[in-house]
Point group: C2
DNA sequence: CCATAAAATTAGCCATGGCTATATCTTGCG
DNA sequence: CGCAAGATATAGCCATGGCTAATTTTATGG
C-alpha cells in the first residue's frame, strides 16, 4: 500500500511532468490503435473494411472516419484507393495484432479480478492504451498463475 | 480467458460504438481530473496553487494552464481571482479526493501484480481515468484479499 | 443502359488543448 | 517609494477530432 500522505507533490516536478507528457503521447496514439484494430477485425470478418462500417462501429460520422483513415495512411498503417475499401499495411497488421492481444489480456485481467464482462469490455477500451509492455507482462504472469491455481 | 477467435466484430455495432463513445467521454474529463488533483496537492503542500507551479508540474506552458483553469472555473470546480492563486470549490475538492484515492488504488493494484513502482506510477496516470466505480471496487477487493493472504 | 440509391469524398465549421509573443499586474529591493 | 523582475493574463496561431452539408463516384435494378 502506498502511503496515503505521499501526495504526488513529493516527486520532482520534472518527473511528474514527464508522466503527464507520456499520458498525452499515449492518448495521441490511442485513436490510431483503435482504428487499426477495428479495420483488422472487419477485414477478418468481411474480407474488407468499408468506411461506413468503420464509422458505424467507432460511433462517429462517416467523414470523421474518412479523415482518420487519411491519417492512418499518412502514418503508413493503412492503404486505400478512392471509393474503395481500407486495408492494412504490414506494419498496420502487426500493430492490429498486438493491440488485439493486449486488449484481450486487459479484459481477461479485469474479469479475473471479478469485474463483470460488460464492464470489463467498456473499461478496457480506455485502459488498454496506457498499459506498457512491462505492465502487460505482469498481467500475463498473473493470469497464468490464476489458471494454474484458480482461487483461494 | 476470452475466446481468441471472438473478435469485437461479434458484438453489435451500436454496442461497440457505445464503448468508444464512453472512452471519448472519459477522455474529455481526464484533464479536469488531473488538474483538480494537482491543485489539491499543491494547496495541501503550499497552502495555495500558483499557475506557474501547475504548469510546471503538468508539463505545459503557463498560458495552457491558465486556459485550463478557466475551464475548471466554468465547470464549477475551481475559483480564482486575477493574478492570485487557484483554489478548489467544494465540488472540486470532493473530486480531487476521489481522484486521488482512485489513483492510489490503481497504483497499488499494479504494484500488487508485480509492476515496478515507477512503471506503475506512469501507467496509472493514464489508466485511472478509465477505471469505473465497479472496476475500482474489484481492485479494492483484490487488494484487501492480498493483504490478508499475501501470496501463493 | 440508364436512373437512382448508396457510399465515399470534400469543404468548411466548432471546441479542445497545445504553443509563442505580448501586455499587464504584483512584489520586493535598493 | 519607485522600478525591475517575476507572475499572470491575453491574443492569436496550429493540429486534432468531432460535426453537417454538398459533391462525386460506384453499384444496382428496371
Amino acid at each position: 500500500m502506498t502511503d496515503p500522505k505521499a501526495s504526488a507533490i513529493q516527486v520532482p516536478p520534472a518527473e511528474q511532468a514527464g508522466r503527464f507528457a507520456r499520458a498525452r503521447e499515449v492518448q495521441s496514439r490511442a485513436l490510431l490503435e483503435d482504428y487499426v484494430e477495428l479495420i483488422g477485425d472487419l477485414i477478418t470478418a468481411h474480407g474488407e473494411a468499408r468506411v461506413a462500417d468503420i464509422a458505424e462501429r467507432m460511433g462517429v460520422a462517416h467523414p470523421t472516419a474518412t479523415k482518420t483513415v487519411a491519417r492512418l495512411k499518412r502514418e503508413g498503417l493503412a492503404t486505400s484507393r478512392p471509393y474503395r475499401g481500407v486495408f492494412l499495411t504490414e506494419e498496420g497488421a502487426r500493430l492490429a495484432e498486438s493491440v488485439r492481444s493486449r486488449h484481450r489480456t486487459v479484459v481477461d485481467l479485469l474479469v479475473a479480478l471479478g469485474v463483470p464482462a460488460e464492464h470489463a469490455e467498456r473499461d478496457a477500451e480506455g485502459i488498454e492504451h496506457h498499459v506498457s509492455q512491462r505492465t502487460l507482462r505482469a498481467f500475463e504472469a498473473f493470469l497464468t498463475k490464476s489458471e494454474t491455481q484458480p482461487q483461494s
